[in-house]
């Protein structure tokens, strides 16, 4: 088991390296640098700026510089926000995204699995139809529609909740972002849970438990839930990264100051190092959580061996 975990984590390293290489190459293949949009500066000044950021060096040298810094955990200076390093920008915005994300994730798991299980237990009766209608709408409603809709209803017309901002993460500022973030994930989790729960409930070992006369709640909680969670877990792994790294839309609509905003600003400003930093962070988290999911499988399903 331990050797499997170590092996699984070691495999992640070359994947991450490929990710860094591709992002780096693509970003530098894009025409126009971070300084081309600014007003004309004298040739000599431009040279100095480029030298400062190593932009005058050949690409492979820039790549090696970047890799060297990356190993030491340094993502370099931001090209656009000149007084800040990428590390500073990320460390100021990522905790906010992560805070909203973790809260959303808890809601996704509780509500999604809950709805899914209730729907499966009432297969083809009204709770099933109600749950699945919600899930279908939730999956189809994109969050860039849902988020402004929430603001319009709850902030503009009803005036129950603030339209945006952070304010130290007070609860009334968090509700709408969490709703906008979690809805589609709740819907997906509910759908997956329902499908896999129905399948599990029809399997022979559940029939046997029923024949043995075990109480219904006991069967559901002790016997059915664990195997039914396997497809849910494989969805939740990557979903967790998506939630925690923050939805760009949520950050934009609610001005939470999360990491998504840096991603978009980085793209618009061609801020190479910022967008590379965010990509690498997201990519590393994705790869790490995929590995974690693989490890969780072996815990949930002892038949899986590596």
């Amino acid at each position: 088991m331990l050797s499997f975990i170590i092996r699984r984590l070691l495999v992640a390293i070359p994947t991450l390296l490929i990710l860094v290489t591709i992002s780096f190459t693509l970003m530098h293949a894009a025409p126009g640098g971070p300084f081309t949009n600014e007003r004309k500066v004298p040739e000599a000044v431009m040279k100095n700026i480029e030298a400062k950021y190593h932009l005058d060096q050949p690409l492979w040298k820039q790549y090696l510089y970047y890799l060297g810094d990356l190993v030491q955990g340094d993502l370099g200076p931001s090209f656009k926000y000149k007084d800040h390093t990428v590390n500073e920008l990320i460390s100021s915005s990522f905790p906010r995204s992560a805070y909203i994300g973790v809260l959303s994730f808890v809601i996704v798991v509780l509500l999604g699995v809950g709805i899914g299980v209730v729907a499966a237990l009432n297969h083809n009766r009204w709770p099933d139809y109600a749950g699945m209608t919600f899930a279908m709408s939730g999956v189809m409603l994109p969050n860039f529609v849902l988020a402004p809709l929430c603001v319009m209803i709850f902030a503009v017309y009803l005036k129950w909740l603030p339209a945006g901002g952070w304010e130290g993460g007070r609860i009334e500022y968090l509700i709408l972002p969490i709703v906008a973030m979690a809805t589609s994930y709740v819907a997906q989790v509910a759908r997956i849970t329902r499908g896999s729960m129905i399948e599990t409930l029809n399997s022979t070992f559940i029939q046997r438990a029923r024949a043995k006369g075990l109480p219904r709640t006991h069967i559901i909680l002790r016997h059915a839930l664990k195997p039914a969670m396997i497809p849910v877990i494989s969805y939740l792994g990557p979903a967790f990264v998506g939630i925690v790294t923050g939805s760009v839309v949520v950050d934009k609509v609610f001005s939470t100051g999360g990491i998504g905003q840096h991603f978009v600003n980085g793209a618009i400003n061609r801020d190479y190092s910022l967008i590379l930093g965010v990509t690498i962070l997201v990519g590393a988290l994705t790869i790490f959580f995929n590995a974690l999911v693989d490890i969780l499988y072996t815990v949930l399903d002892p038949r899986i061996r590596y």
Partner: protein, 307 residues
């Protein structure tokens, strides 16, 4: 005597053969699809939406670029949706006719959806078929590449591609389609792997048909069902993706527009002109629902076992 009777039966059956029509797989699927009410209604709504996007601009006297100066000063009161003034959907925040803008946006969003899905399906199906068919080291190498690309933050790639291509609508959906083929490739590969062991493929092999010809003539046609279902579900995904990028201000740029761009403008002005948010949002949601119902209908029709 007994034998005679059996022969008669066979003869009668042979005589009747002409009366019964064989049911092809496709006719069967069409029948099953026609029985699905939600899918049929969706098809109708979608046809209306398509008509709206292609011909809708004839229905209004305003153009999508002229500014209604007379009402510009007081859009909140006079720019509301109104049949008499000819502004069916009202005015947008700079005084243009929202109906015409919506027609224009629908055309671009639908076009990007369909063509983006088409590009994704062609690349994905070919890639998956080749990978599954060749197998072995090539297969695992090709699939490893797909894995790596899926670990890639998707949106980033599109944004970079757009930085390379410039903000050009035509190239944008090629870019979106070109990075959305990963799932298609996985699905097709899986199907190909099981198809490869079928007798007719082996027969083609033994008579020496070139592998590429086998893929194009025998493997791909047998994958069509899966490919069609996936394509129908990919179109709304593409539309959503394009709208998402335009919503962030990175996609379609003025004077062109799309549902996402319209929703973004609507979201910025929702306090003063809420109809700017309501109309494009309704169009987008209706389209997404329609495509999803049609996709589900097609899946039930083409893959009755899979349900």
């Amino acid at each position: 005597m007994l034998l005679m009777g059996k022969d008669k039966g066979v003869a009668a059956m042979a005589a009747n053969m002409g009366k019964y029509k064989g049911r092809s797989l496709w006719a069967d699927a069409a029948r099953r699809f026609a029985r699905n009410k939600a899918a049929l209604i969706s098809l109708g709504v979608l046809a209306l939406l398509l008509g709206f996007s292609l011909l809708g601009h004839y229905a209004s006297d305003w153009s999508n670029e002229t500014i209604d100066w007379g009402r510009l000063s007081n859009i909140y009161e006079q720019g509301q949706p109104n049949l008499e003034s000819g502004h069916y959907f009202g005015l947008d925040h700079v005084g243009r006719d929202l109906y015409q803008r919506a027609v224009q946006g629908s055309r671009i969003s639908l076009m990007i959806g369909v063509l983006g899905a088409f590009v994704a399906v062609v690349i994905g199906a070919l890639y998956g078929a080749v990978s599954g068919f060749v197998g072995g080291k090539v297969d695992s190498l090709m699939m490893r590449l797909v894995d790596v690309l899926s670990a890639f933050p998707f949106m980033f790639l599109v944004i970079v591609l757009m930085a390379i291509f410039g903000r050009n609508v035509l190239l944008m959906f090629v870019a979106i389609g070109a990075v959305s083929w990963l799932n298609m490739a996985r699905i097709v590969r899986g199907q190909t792997l099981s198809l490869k062991r079928k007798e007719f493929i082996e027969a083609a092999f033994t008579v020496g048909v070139h592998p590429m010809v086998i893929i194009l003539r025998h493997v791909i046609p047998n994958l069509l069902g899966v490919v069609i279902v996936y394509a129908a579900l990919l179109v709304p995904e593409m539309i959503m993706f394009e709208s998402f990028i335009s919503f962030l201000g990175l996609g379609v740029s003025e004077p062109q527009t799309s549902w996402g761009a319209l929703i973004s403008e609507g979201a910025d002005n929702m306090r003063s002109t809420p109809w700017m948010l309501a109309f494009p949002m309704t169009l987008l949601i209706a389209t997404l629902f329609c495509f999803n119902f049609i996709g589900d209908g097609l899946r039930d029709a083409l893959d009755p076992k899979g349900n």
